[in-house]
């Protein structure tokens, strides 16, 4: 059974590209375009991995991440933050919020694949 990856990303083109990359690799992908819907989807769909954008309207990725970790139903799902914010400070904040990894945008698709595979294998 294919592993499920939830993409929470407000930028449609990026969300679509992520879906493409992951589907080509055989993953089952769902997309949520904002934090609120992302949380709901995570709770109901129970993905194996969440790719989370940070800069989103209304609820920031960091907040979404914290909520995911606070909710026992989603707390165990690993979260990878994919963000344009690449400073050390941002990485640190992401880790503090409970993310397992941090992928800076723009990224090379092979980098994403290798990160995802590494996390899901573990």
């Amino acid at each position: 059974m294919a592993k499920k990856v939830l993409v929470i990303e407000d930028y449609h083109a990026t969300a679509e590209m992520l879906t493409n990359i992951l589907e080509l690799k055989g993953y089952e992908v769902a997309v949520a375009y904002d934090g609120e819907r992302g949380l709901k989807k995570a709770a109901s769909w129970k993905p194996d991995l969440i790719l989370l954008d940070v800069m989103m309207p209304e609820m920031s990725g960091l907040e979404v991440c914290r909520k995911l970790k606070d909710d026992p139903k989603t707390a165990k799902i690993p979260v990878v933050i994919v963000s344009v914010r690449v400073a050390e400070e941002d990485t640190r904040k992401g880790k503090e919020a409970g993310a397992v990894d941090y992928l800076p945008k723009p990224f090379d698709p092979p980098d994403l694949i290798s990160k995802v595979e590494k996390i899901l294998k573990a």
Binding site: Y11, T14, M17, K105, P110
Partner: protein
């Protein structure tokens, strides 16, 4: 002055008049005496001579007094001769008119009194003794028959003699004593007064003149004071004026300073906004770049289907341009971080400068070749490995070498060399391009600095390349500088990095 002169003339006139009155009076009294003698004694031969001599004596006595007292013609020493002459005349008179019974005894006595009165007791005493001695000598001479008895003058009558004596005394007193004395005293007083008045006048004149000059001085001083006051007033006004000017300019400068402070605050706000804008924009730009990069990569890797060579080339160009765009955005982000005073973050790892440089030279060879530029690379084989941020170092060197290639004319050369110096590594990138003016050697590292329009292609085209290069070197604890002999003489960019990282 004129009044004083007039006063003198008048007083002099009075004095001259008085003097002539005195002399006339003395002469008249003498003549009157002679006349009286003739009236009382008749005109026999001896008596007129005798009385004449006697009258002359009186006149002389009068004149003597007058002349000596005024010290006019005859000085004091002659006064004694007159006295002696008077003495002789009186003594003869006494002797020949009856000795002790002679009325001339009284005359002699009176003469002594006058002598005392006028010349002091000493001379009076001498004269008195002289008379006594003469009388005793005459008396003894007569007793011994040496001289005959004195009563040889005819018509000598003691009673008449007494009457004569009274006349003589009164006349003499009037002529000799009272009138001249009174007149003398008056005259003296007048003289004194005149002298006094003159002196007073002179003094007054002097005082007047002095007061005049004092007045003049005072007037001058007053004028001086007035002009001083005016000056002071003027300068006070000028000072006030100046003060108001100063106050005005102070207010202006305060206003200006406030304005500048406000402008500065505004500028700070603008600068912060700009920095924030830069940060936001660079983040915003990354967002659309992400799918571009992802899809180009996917297309080129063939995961979305095989591309024709032409398509592959086109997508390759898109990918390269996207990378370039990303570089630019990274530069902007870097600078916005620098502006905010954040330190550059380094992720250090062991870096082989030799490997890095040869990779870069390979990567840039094509660019150099198209411009017919020789890329010379000399670095020792045993060049040490250092601890540094590889990505940042690559960026730094790409920038320096890229610049060197861009600013070197066709057919030139760019030399990259590495060596060790004082425990640091020293990398030099030298070209023989357009060079840099001396005054700009330090400025080239300023943010947004461009030497001229031709620099716009360098380092992302916004003049950030060298500023970032400097930031990278500084963050590693090294130094960067530019050397150039001047415009058209090429340039050499050097930087040091500590071996320890």
């Amino acid at each position: 002055m004129k009044e004083a002169a007039e006063k003198i003339t008048r007083e002099e006139k009075i004095e001259t008049l008085l003097r002539s009155v005195q002399i006339t009076y003395a002469m008249v009294s003498g003549a009157l005496l002679l006349l009286a003698v003739f009236v009382f004694f008749g005109f026999n031969v001896l008596l007129p001579v005798f009385w004449g001599i006697l009258a002359a004596a009186f006149c002389f006595a009068t004149l003597e007094y007058y002349l000596i007292r005024k010290e006019w013609l005859i000085n004091a020493s002659y006064g004694f001769l007159f006295t002696a002459f008077t003495f002789a005349l009186i003594a003869i008179g006494i002797y020949y008119s009856g000795m002790e019974t002679s009325p001339f005894i009284w005359v002699a006595l009176f003469a002594v009194v006058l002598e005392v009165f006028y010349y002091g007791r000493g001379r009076g005493l001498v004269l008195g003794i002289a008379y006594c001695v003469f009388l005793w000598v005459g008396f003894l001479a007569e007793q011994f028959g040496v001289v005959p008895h004195f009563q040889f003058i005819r018509g000598f009558d003691p009673h008449r003699q007494i009457g004569l004596l009274v006349i003589l005394l009164s006349g003499y007193t009037a002529a000799f004593l009272i009138i001249p004395t009174t007149l003398g005293i008056l005259l003296e007083r007048l003289r004194k007064e005149r002298t006094h008045a003159l002196a007073m006048g002179e003094e007054q004149e002097k005082a007047y003149r002095m007061s005049l000059s004092i007045m003049e001085d005072l007037e001058a001083a007053r004028r001086e004071l007035e002009s001083r006051i005016k000056d002071v007033e003027d300068s006070r006004r000028a000072t006030l004026h100046l003060l108001s000017d100063v106050e005005r300019s102070r207010e202006e400068s305060v206003k200006r300073a406030e304005e500048i402070a406000r402008l500065y605050e505004d500028l700070k706000v603008v600068d912060r906004m700009r920095t924030e804008f830069l940060a936001v924009i660079s983040h915003e730009l990354r967002t659309p770049m992400t799918p571009i990069k992802g899809y180009t990569s996917m297309l080129l890797s063939g995961t979305m289907g095989k591309l024709t060579p032409a398509q592959e080339r086109a997508v390759g160009i898109i990918q390269k341009q996207n990378e370039h765009l990303q570089d630019l955005i990274d530069s902007v982000l870097e600078v916005s971080r620098m502006v905010r005073g954040r330190r550059m973050e380094l992720s250090k790892e062991p870096v082989s400068m030799r490997v890095l440089l040869s990779d870069l030279v390979d990567a840039l060879a094509l660019q150099a070749e198209t411009r017919d530029i020789r890329l010379v690379f000399s670095i020792p084989d045993d060049f040490p490995t250092l601890l540094a941020d590889l990505t940042k170092l690559r960026r730094l060197l790409t920038n320096l070498i890229g610049n060197a290639i861009k600013f070197t004319p066709k057919g030139g050369s760019v030399e990259i060399s590495g060596k060790l110096r004082d425990g640091d590594i020293l990398i030099q990138v030298a070209d023989n391009g357009i060079g840099i003016a001396k005054e700009n050697l330090e400025k080239v590292f300023d943010r947004f600095y461009q030497v001229d329009g031709s620099y716009t292609r360098a380092a992302g085209g916004v003049g950030l390349g060298l500023a970032i290069a400097k930031e990278i070197v500084t963050a590693h604890g090294g130094k960067i500088w530019a050397e150039s002999e001047g415009l058209g003489k090429g340039a050499r960019f050097c930087f040091t990095l500590p071996l320890g990282g």
